[in-house]
């Protein structure tokens, strides 16, 4: 599985878990709201039912009061309570759920109420009113009053009503209690589920983070190791990663790169060896016929120079000169090819002593003074290449000096963990356009007939310094002279 997919999947999982938690909490909040609404409605219902009962008692007392005292004040009480109860019943009907037990109780209540009003109260009131008019009517009222109020039928209705209301309110109270209980339970459940889910989210998050971090870092560490090994020249190290994710692909790419790099380096090494071998064979095999020609010319000179016309002797001398030049070139190729092939030997080098040795190798030039700074430093480095660099640079400064009198100065300065050495002359100088060219093998700025030069010296210097990652600089002004400066190690290590 790809790492991006793994990360995406893990975060989606966490997100999903959080969404579920939120949804559950939302549902719970709704439940609480609904319960609060139900509670409120239930409270209204109970308040209404209490009021209905009070009103009914007012009706009863109003009716009785009127019957006994004939005061119209009682009739007013009776009327307003009756009216109010009609309204309460209508309202209760809307509050109570249809088709519920409460609704049927309510219907019974209404029936009883209507029964009481229509079958007792109203006929009594009617009879009472007409009783005022005639005696027969008065008698009719009295008999009705007796049957209605004293025989207990009316009392029964009241009791039934009371019983109904008791049942009604009890149902509401029970309902509320049940709802409360359910709500408490669901709140408790929601809390537990929320805690569990949140904990799961956190644990899952930590696990995923740890897994991904470990997964990625272990591979990266692996690849870093590999890259280091490659940097140290071991191209055979391979990260063994068969996965399908991006890091495995990267590891395989690095493997591939190492393989290609290894192959290329092997090819380069082989080519370098071949080139060296080629240079060796070419210079060695070319030397033999050259030597042969040289021999024959020498024999002619030794045995026959007196018999030959002067012109021929002159030409023979030219041939010898060219042979010498060819030999020098071959020697140059060999020296150039040999650079960096020797084993690295580090030793203490007193540059003062080294420069004395250099002077032994360089032919002196009259009029040109070699001025070397006193107390040159002491190094721990490779002697032979440094000797070669000094010999070639100082040798060039003397060889190409074009004035009768001149000075070649050698001095140095500190340059961090290296020294910078300077070879300064007041000779012909070098034009800027040639500053790159002079370091290329076989390039020389003077006609070969003028100064015998192979054009290898500076290229050897450059190769020695390049191989060690050291810099060489040239500042020069035509006609005034040149300053060559190069870096060299103070203390070198075996790698």
């Amino acid at each position: 599985m790809k790492i991006t997919h793994a990360i995406l999947l893990s975060f989606s999982t966490i997100l999903l878990l959080f969404s579920i938690t939120t949804y559950i909490n939302f549902r719970q909040a709704e439940l609480v709201n609904t319960n609060a609404r139900n509670f409120e409605r239930s409270s209204i219902i109970i308040r209404h039912s209490n009021r209905f009962q009070r009103n009914f008692l007012s009706m009863v007392s109003g009716l009785r009061g009127y019957m006994l005292t004939n005061e119209t004040f009682f009739i007013q009480t009776y009327d307003s309570s009756t009216h109010d109860n009609q309204r309460i019943l209508a309202e209760l009907k809307t509050l109570v759920a249809t088709d519920s037990t409460q609704q049927s109780i309510l219907r019974d209540v209404k029936k009883l109420n209507d029964h009481w009003v229509n079958d007792f109260a109203n006929p009594l009131l009617k009879a009472k009113k007409s009783g005022e008019v005639s005696d027969s009517s008065k008698f009719a009222f009295t008999s009705l009053y007796r049957t209605s109020l004293t025989e207990g039928a009316e009392k029964k209705i009241q009791q039934s009503l009371q019983a109904k209301f008791f049942e009604f309110t009890k149902y509401e109270y029970d309902y509320r209690e049940l709802q409360n209980k359910l709500l408490t339970t669901s709140t408790q459940n929601t809390k537990s589920i929320s805690i569990i889910l949140t904990a799961l989210c956190i644990i899952a998050g930590i696990c995923i983070a740890l897994f991904i971090a470990h997964y990625i870092s272990s591979r990266i560490i692996n690849m870093t190791k590999m890259a280091n090994a490659i940097a140290e020249g071991d191209y055979t190290v391979l990260a063994n990663d068969k996965g399908e994710n991006e890091l495995s692909q990267l590891a395989r790419t690095v493997n591939n790169m190492a393989k290609i790099l290894g192959n290329n380096i092997a090819v380069l090494k082989r080519q370098r060896d071949e080139l060296d071998q080629f240079a060796h064979i070419v210079s060695h095999d070319l030397k033999a016929p050259l030597r042969g020609i040289d021999n024959v010319v020498t024999w002619i000179e030794e045995d026959h120079s007196f018999d030959l016309p002067p012109k021929v002797n002159e030409y023979l001398a030219l041939i010898k000169g060219r042979i010498k030049r060819a030999e020098n070139l071959l020697h140059g190729i060999l020296s150039y090819a040999r650079i960096g092939r020797e084993d690295k030997i580090l030793e203490v080098i007193d540059v003062n002593e080294l420069l004395k040795e250099v002077q032994e190798y360089i032919p002196k030039k009259t009029g040109i003074e070699l001025r070397i700074q006193s107390s040159m430093p002491v190094l721990f480095s490779e002697r032979v290449p440094l000797l070669q660099v000094f010999t070639n640079l100082i040798g060039n400064a003397l060889k190409y000096h074009d004035k009768g009198l001149g000075v070649v100065k050698v001095y140095y300065r500190q340059a961090g963990d290296k020294y910078e050495f300077f070879i300064e002359d007041d000779g012909p100088g070098i034009e800027t356009i040639y500053h790159e060219k002079i370091f290329v093998i076989f390039q020389t700025l003077q006609e070969r007939d003028h100064v015998e030069s192979t054009g290898v010296g500076l290229s050897i210097v450059k190769k020695i310094l390049d191989d060690r990652g050291l810099k060489i600089k040239l500042t020069s002004e035509p006609g005034k002279g040149s300053v060559f400066s190069f870096e060299w190690f103070k203390i070198e290590n075996y790698e």
């Binding site: 060695h284 033999a288 030597r291 042969g292 021999n295 024959v296 020498t298 024999w299």
Partner: protein, 141 residues
Amino acid sequence: MNRVVKILLIEDDTLDQIDVRRALDKKSILYRLKIAKNGEEALAILAGTGDDIFNGNPDIILIDLNMPKLNGFEFLARIKTIDTLKDIKVFILTTSDDKDDKERAASLGVSGYITKPLKLESPSSIDAFNLMIDLMNMQIM
């Protein structure tokens, strides 16, 4: 006593053959020079199967290292196993200035290592050649 020194030169290059002859001519010695172009030819001469101008073994063998067929070192190794030949003085005559070659020659018990060409400018070469001539003179006397 004017004894003639017998020299077997094993050398494939005509110019080098002339070079050796000229160098010998400049010395006041009498010599007889037989030339073989390679090690095999030299072995044939030493075995007496070729035309024998020596009447027996040569006094000195001068041998080039780099030759076709049997090269100098192979030839040296071969004659060191043959009782009748192993005491002949052998001088190497080569263009090789290689340290390994010199050490190998020394280990095979050669009497001298002469580098070509035989010129005054290369003192070591002339020294080695003169050593060979001194040896010849000693044998003559």
